[in-house]
Amino acid sequence: MKLDSMYQDVILDHYRNPHGKGLRDGDAEVHHVNPTCGDEITLRVRLGGADGQTIEDVSYASQGCSISQASASVLNDLVVGHTVAEALATGDVFLELMQSRGHELDRSDEELEEILDDGIAFAGVAKYPARVKCALLSWMALKDAASQAVQKEQERKSA
């Protein structure tokens, strides 16, 4: 079945056993929806570290298809413990992959795997335009929540 290229085992594993799921304390919370299908995610980011720029936790409550659920789980793996800047850079590469429509990217497969780890399993999803938004839902929420958390951190410092 061609679908196997979209529903990789890696994706189904993340879907069945999502990493980091559940809402915990955070510095900012956002709620994003995919209006075409009703997928929803509430996502919180907690910052920490010496400069307050490290993502200590991403917690989330979500409902949606296997692609959106697995994507949130992979996101959790990829960004927790990294700085906001690193996380957003990873998000940009994931976005690049999702917008590739199945075409070759300028990056080598090794480089992609290095950056995205399990996230490269989503390459097959890029061939299904209707599902790309599912894969990006949690990443868009992260971008929004992280920028809010950073802003709060700056306001706290300057206060």
Partner: protein
């Protein structure tokens, strides 16, 4: 596919009908297409496609302008389409307004009621009544009207079985109601509510009624005069016609009393730099060059439907729905949303499948050539009512077959195995 006629009583000769629909011959992902998404948009027979290409190849010119031969032919074809549609819904031709789709039909009425004179004008002390069953097209225009005028929006609720709860009809439709707008067939649940009771109550308190017939006009006889409503809207692309064409029917004396909506060519009588007077209905509501080919295409669609017979189509879909309801019972963890018997419902079946998301269901079905709709079907309040994020929806039409129902059931079994 072997003919299923005779297997189920009431079925149409779909072998013959399907020959008229070139697209139904397609393969999708290497499998024979089972198109079970007609409630979103139906397919078109060759007769409709031909009528539109012949118009463009032989007769196109602007309508109601010019005296040359092509202009007259185009006008005759366009107005001929209006006659066909008028006959199809048993209305005088003056009461048939061409719009873009049912959303535009409803928006048109909602806008008129915001600017009309008394007694039609919707103001701050008035009430607008809809139902929880509506698709967004019959919710949002009324929300906008309420926001603009300060009127109160009220609605009938759905009960657990997918029927409208009319037990409090007298407190929902009060003498403050100016307009009662509701679907005569739900696009998610398939529910067909008791029209007469609602229309009678609305008229008792002096309210106008608008019926959204987008999911009825394609599937069953529609006699607007017998219904006794004030406005009826429907859309062409769900009834074998092209996209970009819809209908608003309204009672003539009412349409004459109400103000114009869009201004432009065609809708005027005389124009000076200071002011204008307006054309009689239906032209008062058709500003600018209309969708001519689309109207002609819809006329051809109506011809096609009538050559089969709306009663026969309703019977076919009823038989198929009863068969599908029975067969879907075999699928473990399948929860039907809406009425569970084929009575008082249309050929639209929405369901959930365990906790497998409808997107995943739809994707794996597509891989097997089965096309269904997934999501909230532009009727999110219905999903909220039943505590589900979305559903998978299969819908049938005159060309649908028991074999396609079988393909759906087989496909759902595959979905369950895939995500087990």
């Amino acid at each position: 596919m072997t003919s299923s006629t005779g297997v189920l009583p009431g079925l149409l000769d779909t072998d013959a009908i399907r020959k008229d629909f070139p697209i139904l011959d397609r393969e999708v992902n290497g499998r024979k297409l089972a198109f079970l998404d007609s409630a979103a948009s139906s397919q078109r027979p060759r007769q409709v496609i031909d009528a539109m290409s012949q118009y463009y190849e032989r007769h196109h010119a602007n309508v109601h302008r010019g005296v040359h031969t092509l202009a007259e032919e185009a006008t005759a074809l366009y107005e001929g389409a209006r006659d066909k549609i008028a006959a199809f819904i048993n209305a005088p031709r003056e009461e048939v307004i061409f719009t873009k789709n049912v959303s535009e039909s409803i928006n048109l009425v909602a806008n008129l009621l915001g600017t009309a004179d008394e007694p039609y004008r919707v103001g701050p002390d008035d009430e607008i009544v809809i139902t929880e069953m509506e698709h967004h097209s019959n919710i949002v225009p009324w929300q906008l009207l309420a926001q603009r005028t300060g009127a109160t929006l009220k609605w009938f609720r759905l009960d657990d079985e997918g029927h409208l709860d009319l037990s409090d009809i007298e407190s929902v439709i009060t003498d403050k109601a100016k307009i009662v707008a509701f679907s005569v067939a739900s696009n998610v649940l398939g529910t067909r509510p008791p029209l007469e009771q609602i229309i009678r109550r609305a008229h008792d308190v002096g309210a106008l009624t608008l019926l959204d017939a987008a999911q009825l006009a394609p599937h069953a006889p529609l006699d607007v005069q017998a219904l006794g409503a004030d406005f009826v809207g429907f859309t062409g692309h769900k009834m074998l016609g092209p996209t970009g064409i819809g209908i608003l029917w309204g009672r003539q004396e009412l349409l004459q009393d109400l103000p114009p909506f869009l201004g432009g060519g065609e809708m005027i009588e005389t124009v000076t730099m200071e002011q204008s007077t307006f054309a009689p209905v239906p032209y008062k509501y058709e500003a600018g060059t209309p969708p001519i080919a689309e109207a002609i295409g819809l006329g051809a669609a109506v011809d096609y439907l009538q050559s089969i017979g709306m009663e026969r189509i309703a019977e076919h879909e009823h038989a198929l729905t009863a068969y599908a309801l029975e067969r879907l019972k075999e699928v473990e963890d399948l929860r039907l949303i809406g009425p569970t018997t084929a009575e008082e419902r249309g050929a639209v079946l929405s369901f959930t499948l365990g906790d497998i998301h409808p997107h995943d269901v739809g994707q794996v079905l597509d891989e097997q050539g089965v096309a269904v709709r997934v999501g909230h079907h532009c009727a999110r309040p219905v999903c909220l009512r039943y505590g589900i994020p979305a559903t998978t929806r299969a819908s049938f039409y005159l060309y649908s077959t028991p074999a396609e129902v079988d393909a759906l059931v087989d496909g759902l079994q595959t979905v369950r195995r895939f995500f087990a």
